[in-house]
Every structure is written in structure tokens, then in C-alpha cells.
Amino acid sequence: MALLSLALARHVARGLQPLRRLCASGWLREADVDLCLRLLHPALRLNRVFAQVEARRWVADDMLAIELRCNGNARDWRAGQHVQLYLEQDGVRHGRSYSLTRVTTDGRIELAIKRQPGGRLSNRLLDRLAVGEVIELGQAFGDFAWPQEQGAVLLLAAGSGLTPLLGLLRDALARGFAAPVTLLHQVRRQGQQAFAEELQALAARHANLQVRWAFSGEVGGRLTAAQLAALPGEHLLLCGPRGFVEQACGWWCDAGRGGSLQAESFSPLPVLAEADTGEVRLRFARSGQQVSGNGNASLLEQAEASGLRPAHGCRQGICTSCTCLLLAGTVRDLRSGELFAEPNQPIRLCVSAPHGDVEIDL
């Protein structure tokens, strides 16, 4: 039961600065303060972002758009960024990244979630996430942005790669962007054209917008280099699975079209085949380093070899001094051989070896 409406709770959240300071300096325990705030409204927290589901609608056969209203802690979010959505299952808080398709100043956001066959979270979200439910989000991140320069814009999306582009497109058109915009959305089959009606309506309203679809599941439906060359635009924004993005980037650069290029891909990082101990790519996110490594040595040793000084203790998995978040990729526990691939999961660097390319919060 909420004592306050969420709109009112958002105003309360602004006035909690003294409490935030007391928690940050250790005089109060944030979890205890949050417990009291939850009595006012289930989504109200001191620092963490919680949001209430306000609406849900199907925008394709396999994609659901959910509208959420955040508590006051979502800071400077922009459409086109990503946000982690957390859901607890079997005692574990799992996080998945989704793009913001809309952000309004009154704290409302929209996310679009595509069904992943066999997915642990997406199916639960699509089938059971109810209006009124309160869920946790992370802070938004990502720097996909509408081109600042003049000139025609080309948007290329594959699958759920549409979502960040749609957010940027809606914003740009609402601001009165007048240069030509072409959007090509590649999906596997009919029925997967997410937000199709809305896109058609936008195109009808804005003469500078053209929307097209390609069906990769049909013969000759997949985007080719020649088709890309025929699409107008100086600035390319590109989002989709890794393979799609890498191929289209290659074609764009080979064609020497100039302008600007922004690309994001979302496939999981490649995983080593069993018994393969070849070279892998290690990315240390906080220090902004990318190095090549191998699948044999621990991440602690490899981070040290590339000049980093991660906190560590026993170097044998006992003391947890080197615990650190696995952002993406798969690691292997050197003690048990077990594989871990959950994004944003804490791992111990001293007993984890990369099993394919990995990204670590270090």
C-alpha cells in the first residue's frame, strides 16, 4: 500500500539530500532508510532507481513495450541509452540491458523487450510483468546520440537494434529535425516489425522520414552491400547483432561515404570452444584498456601483466579481496571448471580465467 502517489513521492525524493549525505558518510544504513521510504511508496528509495509499470503493449509478435514511471533517482537519462532491468529469480538478482525508447521529463520511460527463445528473463517479463508492479533499474549508460552536424541521416537496425534508434528518431522529429531520414529495419519475418504502425504514422506526418523493412528470413531479403550503397544519408547510425553491425560497418567504410558513423551491437561475446585455449580479448572497463590474453591464466594475473593493480589477497579464492563484476563474456572457475556468463555477476579474479572475450569492471 502506498501512502503517497508516485508523482508526489518523486518530489519527496528530491528533498532527501541530507539523508543521502548521512548514508554516504556512514552515519545511517541506506537499506534501513530505504525500508522506511518504501512505506511511503513501494518505488521510493534513497539512491537506487525503482520504477512502477504503468502500461504494457505489444509492438510486434515478439516484442513488448512497457511504460514505466521512475522514482526521482534516474539522472539525466536520454532516449537511445541503455538501462539494466533487474529481476529476482531463485534468490538471484539478474540484470538485463534494454534500450530507452522514450524518456520524458516527468520521469516516464519506455523500454521495449524482445522475446529470447529460452531466455530466463525476457519470457518472465513478457508474460507476467503486470501493470502496477515495481521493478529495479540501474542508471542509464551509453552514448549513442543523434548527429550534431547537418545532413541526411540513415538508420540501420536489425531485430531489437531498432529500440535505441527509435528513441533517438522520436526525439529528433519532435525537435523538428528537417533533413531527410531513412530508417531500414531488418527482421527475420513478417510480424516482427516492431512499432510498425507508429513508424508509418510518423512517416505520414513527417515528409522527410522514409521507413523500409527487410526480411532476412526470406530469399534475397537480407541487406546487401549494393542495397546499402543505394540508401541515402551522410550520417549512419547502426544497431543490431554483432555480425550485422560488423558487416554493415565494413560496407559503409569500403564505400568511402564519409559523414559520421555510430554503431552498437548487442550479441554476447564469443565463447571459447571446449579445450581451445587460444587468444582472447580482455576489456577492463574502468581503466579503459583492451588487451589480448589467453584462456589459461587467471584474470588477476593477466590484469597485472597488463599493468593494472587490482585489489587482491590470498590469490586462491578464499578471501574475496579481488571480487569484481563480470560485465560481459564467459569466465571459467579454475577450481571447478564451471562456466559463468551472467552479466554483472561478481567473480573472483584470482580463480577465474577468461573463456572467450570478456569485459571486467576493473
Binding site: 529476482e88 531463485d90 538471484v92 589477497g313 578464499i318 578471501c319 574475496t320 561478481p346 573472483r348
Partner: protein, 360 residues
Amino acid sequence: MTTRLDRELSLAELEAFGQELDALRQRTLADLGEADARYIRRVRAAVRGCCWTGRALLVLGWFPPTWLLGTLLLGLGKILENMELGHNVMHGQYDWMNDPEFAGRQYEWDIVGPADFWRHTHNHVHHTYTNVLGMDDDVGYGVVRLFPEQRWKPFYRWQPLWVTIQALLFQYAVAIQHLRLDKLVKGRISKEEVKPLARRFGAKLVRQWGKDYLAFPLLALLLGANVLAVLSGNLAANLLRNLWTFLVIFCGHFTEKAAVFAPEILEGETRGHWYLRQLRGSSNLSGGSLLHILTGNLSHQIEHHLFPDLPARRYAELAREVRLIAQRYGQHYNCGTLWGQFATVLRRIWIYRLPATGTA
């Protein structure tokens, strides 16, 4: 006095021994889930319930039933927070939940020692070098001689007195362990190295004292309640916790049949060796589930040392299998009642205050 009857294990046996324990660990890891998460959240709720009710009762002043109950509840809440919640969360036992509130590397507990200090002295030093003389500072914490293998110094003559003071001020003893004051006195580390640590300790000390001995008494004053009753209740609750944690922790490694090791044991130590050292160096307390919860399951010190990062609520079920494994490999499984084990600890403190009795 160290009268263990352990069979020496061959290298092959040691490896098999290690593998059995590893397999046990894997089985438990694979089974972690909802029930464990619910448990630690309930412990957190119990901590809040005890502490908040206790503090509320203390505001009622000197009226004996409420003052006593308030003090006991506050003490109980602090004990639970210290042992079953703080200690276990900070071991990373609940890291798999991926919940920031139970993240081992972030948790800050309600005692004067900063959590980061303890993550080093306890999680790293004590758990890596358990009962290795000269490496594990927890063996006597520098003020008590408990094993004949420890070199005697005249200072130890008065150790029954030192250990009493330590028990009364136990949270402070644990807190300053990280400052390495002994090394500072001997000139082996510089003042500059200790200064930043001392500052952090000071900041935490100010917060803890500010909370228990200033903020809550002042709150009582505002409510027109008896300040001294609140102050003394808080003091007594902290004292209760000091004595209880001292009791539990000294029974974990310094009982009659606990073994200590020379530093040479670490050379080329395999995983099997490491497990064996943890088993031989630790001692359990037998009792009911209330005792296990109040000790933060450190009544299963052996299981805690074999598997420091498994949720402590699993130790009781692990203990049954560990006991059988120990039996199969001819290792003594050190377990006794709280008072029985403590009596042997007191005996060690008394006997080894003198140099001559070192006839093990």
C-alpha cells in the same frame, strides 16, 4: 596438551581428501537459491527488529523489566548483526545473490573496526594462514600465548589479566589488529604508514560512539526520557556482544585439540594440505540451533574454515558429511560443548602464561 590422534596422509590420500571436499563444496554451490536468500533477509529483519525494539524499550528509562529486556534485545541484535549477518556477508557468502545489500565487498558492519580492515586481517590473513605461527595474528592476537610452540615473553606472565581486558573490549581489539601497532613499536613500519589507517579507524570510532553514546541518548533527552538509562543500556549491549564474540572466537581455534603449524607447512601446500590444516586448526561447538544462529554458525568453525564462502546456514548439513570424511581419513574431528571447549581454552591461557610448562 596437544593430544590429537591424526593419521598422516600420503600424497595420494591428500589429493583424494581434497577432491571429496571440493565435490561437497560444488554440490552445495549448485543447490544455493531461494531458501538461502530468504534466510539472510530474515536474519536482517531479525537484526532490525531486535535493535529497534531494544532501543525503543530503553527510552522507557530505568524500569527494570524494560531496561533489562531492551538491553538484551539490543545486545542480541548487535550479536546477530556482527556474526550471522556481517561476518557471513563479508565473507562473500551471499555474493551470488547479486544484491548490493549483501555484497561482501561493500558491507559495513555495526562495530568499531572498519569493514575493510577486517576483510584484510580476517578474510585474507586469518583464513589463508589459519593457525600458522607468525603468519596468523589471530593466534593469541599478540597478547596471549596459547601454544607451547609460541616463544615465551615475560609479558605473558600476566596474560589471564590481559585476556580479561581483551574480552571486555573485544571489538576494539579486533579493530586495531589492522593498525599493526606492534610493528610500529618495534620500528618495522613507519608512522606514515599507520597514519591513514588510524584516521579511518578514528572516523569509524567517532561514528559508532556518536550513534550509541551521543545520538540515541540525545534522542532520549528530546523525548524527555532518561539519558543515563539509554547510555548505560547501549554500553551494556556492546559489552554483552564483546564477551559473547570473544567466547565464540576463542573457542574456534584455541581449544585443547586445536593444532598450530610452523610456517614451513606453507611451502608447496596443495589444496588437500590446505583443507587438512583448516580441519586440524579449527574446533566446533555442539549444541542446538539457537547456539548455531547466535554464533553466526561459527559453532561450525571447521566447516567455516573449509568453505568460508558458502552460506553459513549450510554448515550444519555439511558438518555431517565432513565428520564422516574426517573419520574415513583418520582425522580427529574437534567438537565439544561450548563450556567444555571454553574450559580447555582457559586452561591453555593459564598454563602457557609460564615458560616451563611447554612440554607438549
